[in-house]
């Protein structure tokens, strides 16, 4: 039975500088269906939704809504066509009540009718059996309840299409069931739901059809009833490895770092060992708690429980300062905000790694700083006309090398790379990989958090997979594959 098509996106292309975020992607959504968008991190799901909501403009393709064709959307056009998007980050005003948030922007003239707002909100909440007090302040609700407010706000506008981006990321099991019920009611009313989730189990629970995307491209659309978990994973990953990674395993038996039953605000009971000369990959979906685990070990965030051993000796790391003293260095995820001093020179940045060693009779020696910086300029092949160049003016790859130089300057034994090549072009990427190989040859050990599957498979000696803040698997190089990693990463 062929239902009415309410939305059809045809051949959508979106180009960001250097990246084709969407390449000829098509999507067709029918009335009263729950349509899932599935794909790895960076597959282009969120970008596609942003095109639909008018948050970004596509370069090519058409969007057909209510029989009318649009070359691109604007937020206003999207709204008037009955499209409501529930984003992962909340767009609620914490200082207003549930009712005020839900009714916000509905009538902007005359006096605010508080009683009417509360009454209408209560009716809406009753209709969908959502347990919320319309008078409660949104800022005082826990995240899961805020999510419900967000959903209620979206459906209060009687939309034709509701987009839910990772709606269950914050919800407990009972609340997820509640959400499914709401989705089914929307469906019964004939509303189309576009449902984005990493969790494969959920898709079988609520969706009718699934569109799979990979690297910004459309892969396939399948009926949920006619597919299974393994097939979906195969569709998500079915790609050839483009790069060749020249890797020789340098890992030894010597344990340099041992994490023992670590708990953080996000992680529960995580234990692992890092060997000398090893590149240990950390895989997981966004929000799995990889960065949080590493930051807790590094002392950047609070560790709630567990012990850390360096070279077999227990260490008490309470701050990054302590971690660096233990020979651990971190190259953070956000290079610009956490890795560099953008308005300072290259040599200045490198000197910050270990300024105390670059002194003469207690005073900072510019000569020592320059000679240290020159050493790393050569070793890491930092491309710049002068070491006085401000780091702000360097390319991403060279900035990353400066951060690495800063970390190495502190005599680091264990180097943690959090997303080592994010936003770095292909040429510089290969150089970063060479450097990592060089570091393990020198007997250093590397922890590498990465959302880039190719990089993980290509560079890691072992891969640790996290899901929901827990370690769900540790795979050796000979046992891992894209399918196995993804399987473990989507474990609930």
């Amino acid at each position: 039975m062929e239902q009415d098509v309410v939305l059809s996106m045809k051949n959508i292309t979106k180009i960001y500088p250097g990246v084709r975020a969407l390449d000829d992607v098509s999507l067709e959504v029918r009335a009263g269906e729950v349509h899932a968008l599935l794909g790895e991190n960076g597959a282009g799901k969120s970008t596609l939704i942003k095109v639909l909501s008018g948050a970004v403009q596509n370069e090519g393709g058409t969007i057909v809504l209510r029989g009318k064709s649009y070359s691109h959307m604007t937020p206003a056009v999207s709204r008037t066509n009955g499209i409501e998007v529930i984003y992962q980050e909340y767009n609620l005003i914490p200082g207003l009540t549930v009712a005020e948030n839900i009714c916000l922007g509905q009538k902007m003239h005359g006096m605010v009718d508080l009683k009417g707002q509360i009454k209408r909100t209560q009716e809406l909440l009753d209709r969908y059996q959502i347990q919320l007090d319309p008078r409660a302040l949104v800022g005082q609700l826990p995240p899961a309840r805020q999510q419900l407010v967000e959903i209620a706000k979206a459906i209060s506008k009687d939309p034709e299409i509701v987009v839910m981006d990772e709606p269950t990321a914050q919800l407990s099991l009972a609340e997820v069931q509640n959400l499914y019920r709401i989705i089914r009611e929307l469906k019964a009313k004939g509303t189309a739901v576009i449902y984005i989730s990493h969790r494969l189990e959920e898709l079988f629970e609520v969706t009718d059809r699934i569109t799979i995307m990979r690297d910004g491209q459309y892969v396939d659309t399948v009926n949920t009833k006619e597919t299974n978990r393994d097939r979906l994973i195969a569709l998500m990953v079915g790609r050839e490895l483009k790069h060749t990674y020249d890797r020789t395993c340098r890992a030894t038996d010597e344990v340099v770092l041992k994490a023992d039953h670590i708990d953080s605000y996000v992680n529960t009971d995580c234990s692992f060992e890092l060997h000398r000369g090893e590149i240990l990959g950390f895989a997981g979906l966004v929000g799995a708690g990889r960065t949080e685990l590493i930051r807790a070990i590094f002392g950047a965030d609070k560790k709630l429980a567990g012990k850390v051993y360096v070279h077999g000796k227990e260490v008490h790391i309470k701050s990054p300062e302590d971690a660096i003293r233990c020979g651990i260095g971190l190259i953070p995820e956000d290079r610009k905000m956490q890795g560099c001093f953008l308005n300072q020179s290259i040599s200045w940045n490198i000197s910050m790694g270990n300024i105390r060693s670059m002194t003469k009779r207690g005073l900072v020696s510019e000569k020592k700083i320059v000679s240290e910086a020159e050493k790393y300029e050569q070793m890491l092949n930092i491309k710049t006309p002068s070491l006085k160049q401000l780091v702000r003016n360097l390319s991403g790859g060279n900035q990353q090398k400066v951060v690495l130089a800063k970390v190495l300057a502190a005599d680091t034994e264990i180097v943690i790379f959090d997303e080592p090549t994010r936003g770095i072009d292909v040429g510089a990427r290969a150089e970063i990989y060479d450097l990592m190989n060089h570091l393990v040859e020198m007997g250093k050990s590397i922890i590498m958090i990465s959302s880039d599957m190719e990089e993980l498979l290509g560079m890691s000696d072992r891969v640790i997979i996290l899901a929901d803040g827990r370690i769900t698997g540790i795979l050796n190089r000979n046992e891992y594959s894209q399918e196995r990693i993804l399987d473990l990463a989507s474990e609930a």
Binding site: A300, P320, Q338, F341, Q344, S351, L363, V364
Partner: protein, 321 residues
């Protein structure tokens, strides 16, 4: 090639050039202004202000702000006067005054660290607190009965150069040295430039903030001593107002309001521009209210020009890419 060098020099020393220009204008308009005596007078009058502004510059470089400077100076001035009244020898009273400054500054830093709020908010509160303390101590009275020894700090001179100016030069050199030559100084820039990067690179950000506020507090102590000994009186009202003038001077001179950049000389030139402007306009007999208007216009113009310069720089860089 030569031209770009000249341009770079002009851009780097813009505020010094503006200062010289101002002095030339006033020198032409007023014979009194251009006397050596008047020049020394401007320096002596502003010595305490320059020292306090260097303290504020330190805090601003570390990414903070201090609105409590004026009230803190009130507390220090009154305390030193009371100490000497109670029989405390002058050198001890002065040292204790500087120590009180360090404690008041350190308290600001500690609050910002512990409560994890920006120092602007912290000092907004402590400003009121210090005002109260200052008036409780002084009993709303002024103190005049200073010994000659104390008065000689503010009013003495070595040859043609007054003692306040000598102290100011020493303070300037010492702080410059700390900022550029010590590990602590480097860390001040690091914390102000990007506190999170600094923390992840192993800098104890809290300690640096605390020390910066403490050191700045010492300078406020020195400033308060010079101010009271030069004027021959101490009361709770001596300091207030300094905080905004000092921030103005810093911004004018080129100390970054968001932190991570600035030199002692920036603070000094900012103070001198304000000082020369005030003195010069008095000399040519401008009435007080018009002086405010001119000062405001000049501020807007110079800061506006500076911001514009930076925008052009940014634009040029974008074009190059």
């Amino acid at each position: 090639m030569e031209k770009s060098k000249v341009n770079a020099f002009v851009r780097k020393n813009m505020m010094w050039l503006i200062l010289i220009l101002l002095m030339l204008v006033f020198a032409i308009l007023s014979p009194n202004f251009r006397s050596f005596k008047n020049m020394m007078n401007i320096l002596t009058q502003n010595a305490y202000f320059i020292i306090a502004t260097i303290g504020v510059a330190l805090i601003m470089i570390s990414g903070g702000t201090d609105l409590s400077v004026g009230q803190a100076m009130g507390v220090i001035g009154v305390s030193v006067a009371l100490l000497m009244r109670g029989g405390c020898p002058v050198p001890v009273a002065v040292l204790l005054g500087i120590l009180i400054g360090a404690v008041l500054g350190g308290f600001n830093g500690a609050c910002a660290n512990v409560l994890k709020i920006h120092s602007m908010i912290v000092t907004l509160a402590t400003m009121t607190m210090y005002k109260g303390i200052s008036y409780i101590l002084s009993g709303s009275q002024s103190y005049y009965d200073f010994s000659d020894k104390y008065l000689s700090i503010g009013q003495g001179a070595v040859g043609p150069v007054s003692v306040p100016v000598i102290i100011m030069i020493v303070v300037g050199i010492v702080i410059s040295f700390i900022l550029s030559k010590t590990v602590f100084g480097r860390f001040i820039y690091a914390v102000g430039g990007n506190a999170e990067t600094a923390r992840l690179a192993g800098v104890n950000v809290h300690k640096i903030k605390l020390m910066t506020f403490g050191l700045a507090g010492c300078l406020f102590g020195v400033a308060a001593v010079i101010l009271t000994s030069r004027g021959g009186s101490a009361s709770s009202a001596i300091g207030p107002g300094v905080e905004f003038d000092a921030i103005t001077a810093c911004v004018l001179g080129g100390v970054s309001f968001i932190g991570g950049a600035g030199r002692v000389s920036d603070a000094v030139v900012g103070c001198l521009i304000l000082g020369v402007l005030t003195n010069g306009m008095q000399m040519i007999g401008m009435d007080v209210n018009s002086q405010y208007v001119v000062k405001g216009i000049l501020l807007l113009a110079s800061i506006g020009y500076d911001t514009y310069q930076r925008q052009v720089k940014v634009r040029m860089k974008a074009d190059k890419k």
